[in-house]
C-alpha cells in the first residue's frame, strides 16, 4: 500500500525470497481497551524461520493468532501471496485430545476434512515417523512424557503439510534437555519439509539457534523494534552453539531485547 512504511527494519525480506505474508500497520485493541499491537509491520518470506521475541505483553502471541486467523486485527492489513494457505499451529501446551490415541490425535485435521482413517493412514504414519513416535501410535496422551506429547502436537500440525507453521512458545514448559532435543528435531523437520515457520519464544538462545531471522518486539504498545538476520546455514547442530556467529548474534539479540524492555516503563 504505502511504500514509505517499508523503512521499518522488520520489513526487510531475507535473501530475496518471495513473500508469503505481510502484515501492514496492524493494530489490535481488545474489548477491554488494552492495546496488544500498535502499527505492527512484518513480512514473512517463503521458507524462512522467523522468531518473534520480546517481553510479556508485546503482542507476539497476538500477531501469531492474527496470522492464523484466530483473531481479527482492529486495523491494518494482512496480505497473503497465495489463497488460503494451509496453516499448522502448535500451542504452548500439547493440546491433545486425552480421549483419543496418538494416531487419532494426528488424524484429527484430516478427519475434519472427511478423510477416512484408512486413506489417511499413510500421511499419519509419515507425520508420526517424522517425530519418531510411530511406535506409540496406539498410546494415549497421558501415557506419554511432556516432550513426547509435544512431538505428537507437532506431528498433528505437520500432517496436512502446511505451507506455514505457527508455534506459540511450544517448548516453554519443557525441561532443558528435552527442549534442546526438540530444537534439533525442529531444525531437521524444517529442512526436510521446507515449511515456513513463525516461532514465538521468550528465549534469546532458542531464537538464535533456530531462526534465519529474529524480530525483536517491545511492549505497550506491541510493535517490532528490531530485526536481526542469522546468516548461518539452515541445518544447525549442537556445535553451532559454540561458534562466534552464534555468540555474537545472541549478544546482539539480547541487547536489542534489553533496549526494547528499557522503553517499557511498567517493568
Amino acid at each position: 500500500m504505502d511504500d514509505a512504511l517499508d523503512l521499518s527494519p522488520a520489513t526487510r525480506s531475507t535473501s530475496g525470497r518471495d513473500l508469503l505474508v505481510s502484515l501492514r500497520d496492524v493494530s489490535k485493541t481488545f474489548d477491554n481497551g488494552t492495546t496488544a499491537l500498535s502499527r505492527l509491520t512484518l513480512d514473512v518470506a517463503e521458507g524462512e524461520f522467523l522468531s518473534l521475541i520480546g517481553p510479556s505483553g508485546c503482542g507476539k502471541s497476538t500477531a501469531l493468532r492474527i496470522l492464523a486467523g484466530l483473531t481479527e486485527a482492529s486495523s491494518g492489513s494482512l496480505a497473503w501471496s497465495v489463497e488460503r494457505p494451509e496453516i499448522g499451529f502448535v500451542f504452548q501446551e500439547p493440546t491433545l485430545m486425552p480421549w483419543a490415541s496418538v494416531l487419532d490425535n494426528v488424524w484429527l485435521p484430516l478427519r475434519l476434512r472427511h478423510v477416512s482413517r484408512r486413506s489417511a493412514a499413510d500421511r499419519i504414519e509419515e507425520a508420526l515417523a517424522m517425530v519418531g513416535l510411530w511406535k506409540f501410535a496406539s498410546s494415549y496422551p497421558r501415557e506419554l512424557s511432556g516432550g513426547m506429547k509435544m512431538r505428537v502436537s507437532i506431528a498433528r500440525a505437520l500432517v496436512l503439510k502446511p505451507r506455514l507453521l505457527l508455534m506459540d512458545e511450544p517448548f516453554a514448559a519443557l525441561d532443558e534437555i528435552t527442549r534442546f532435543r526438540l530444537n534439533n528435531d525442529l531444525v531437521r523437520l524444517k529442512a526436510e519439509l521446507g515449511t515456513t515457520v513463525v516461532f514465538v519464544t521468550h528465549s534469546v538462545y532458542e531464537s538464535v539457534y533456530l531462526s534465519t531471522r529474529i524480530a525483536v518486539m517491545a511492549a505497550r504498545p506491541g510493535r517490532v523494534v528490531d530485526a536481526i538476520d542469522v546468516p548461518a546455514p539452515p541445518i544447525r547442530t549442537e556445535e553451532f552453539r559454540a561458534t562466534q556467529l552464534y555468540i555474537d548474534t545472541c549478544r546482539r539479540a539480547s541487547q536489542a531485547l534489553h533496549g526494547a524492555m528499557a522503553e517499557d516503563e511498567s517493568l
Binding site: 496453516i87 500451542f91 475434519l112 476434512r113 519418531g132 534439533n184
Partner: protein, 288 residues
Amino acid sequence: MSAADPIDMRSHVADSAAGPGDRSWRRLVPHRPAEYVLPVAIFVAAVLAWEAVVRLRGIPPYILPTPSLIFATLIKDWPILSGSLLVTLRTTLLALGLAVVGSVGLAILFVQSKWIERSFFPFAVVLQVTPVVSIAPLLLIYLEPGTAVLVCAFLVAFFPILSNTALGLASADHNLIELMELYRASRWQQLVRLRLPSALPYFLGGLRIGGGLALIGAIVAEIAAGSAGQGSGLAFRIVEAGFRLNIPRMFAALALISLTGILIYVVLTVLNHFLLHRWHDSARKRGA
C-alpha cells in the same frame, strides 16, 4: 532422532507398567484379600449382632424382625415382591433413560447459545429445588398413578445430568476449540469431535447421581400415591405391609430397594470405569 530417546522412553515404560488397558477389571476390586475381608467381616458381625439382640431380648417380630426372618420372608413372599421389584426397576430405568435423552439434548441446546441457556435454565432450577414430594400429589391428580410415578422419577434425575453435562460441554479445552476453528470445523464437528467427548466424564458423574435419585423419585412418588398405587412397586408393598402390620415384609421390600440402589450405583461405576479408565484421571488408579 528416532524413538531412541532414553529419558522419554523410560518414563513411558514406567507408566505403562501400571497397565493401561490390561486387566482393568482388577482395578475396581481391591488387590489384597485383607482389603475386603475386613468390610465383609464387619457387615456379617453387625447382622449377627442384630439377630442376637432380637433373640436374647425376645423382641417380637412386629416390632423388629430378625435378619433371618426377613430373609425367610423375602423367599416366601418372592412371587409378590419380585413383581414389585420389576415394576420399580422398570420405572427407575425408564425415567433415567428419558432423563438422559432430555437433559443431554437440552445441554447441547444450552451450549449453542447463551440466550437459550439463560431462558431455560431457571425452569430447570425451579424443578430441581422444588421437593418432589410436594409435586407428587399434583401429578397424581393429573396423571395415571403409573405415569405420575415415572414423571417424578424423571424430574429428580433430570437436573443433575443436565447441569453436569452442560458444564462438561462448556469446559472443552479452549486451545482445542481454537484448533477446530483453525481447521474450519463445522459446529457439528466441534460438537461430536470435541465437546461431547470432553463432557463425557461430567455426564457420567451426573448419571451416577441421577441414577440414585431416579430410584428415590420413584419410591417417593409411590409412597405419595399410597393405596392409589394399585398394587405395583416396592414402595407400595411397604405401605401395604405397613397397614397390615406385616413388619418382616416391610423390611424385605426395604432390603430390595437398597439392593436396587446398590445395583444401579455399581453398574454406573463400572460403566464409568470402562469408558474413562484409559484417559481420564478420575478413573485412574491412585499412585499410578
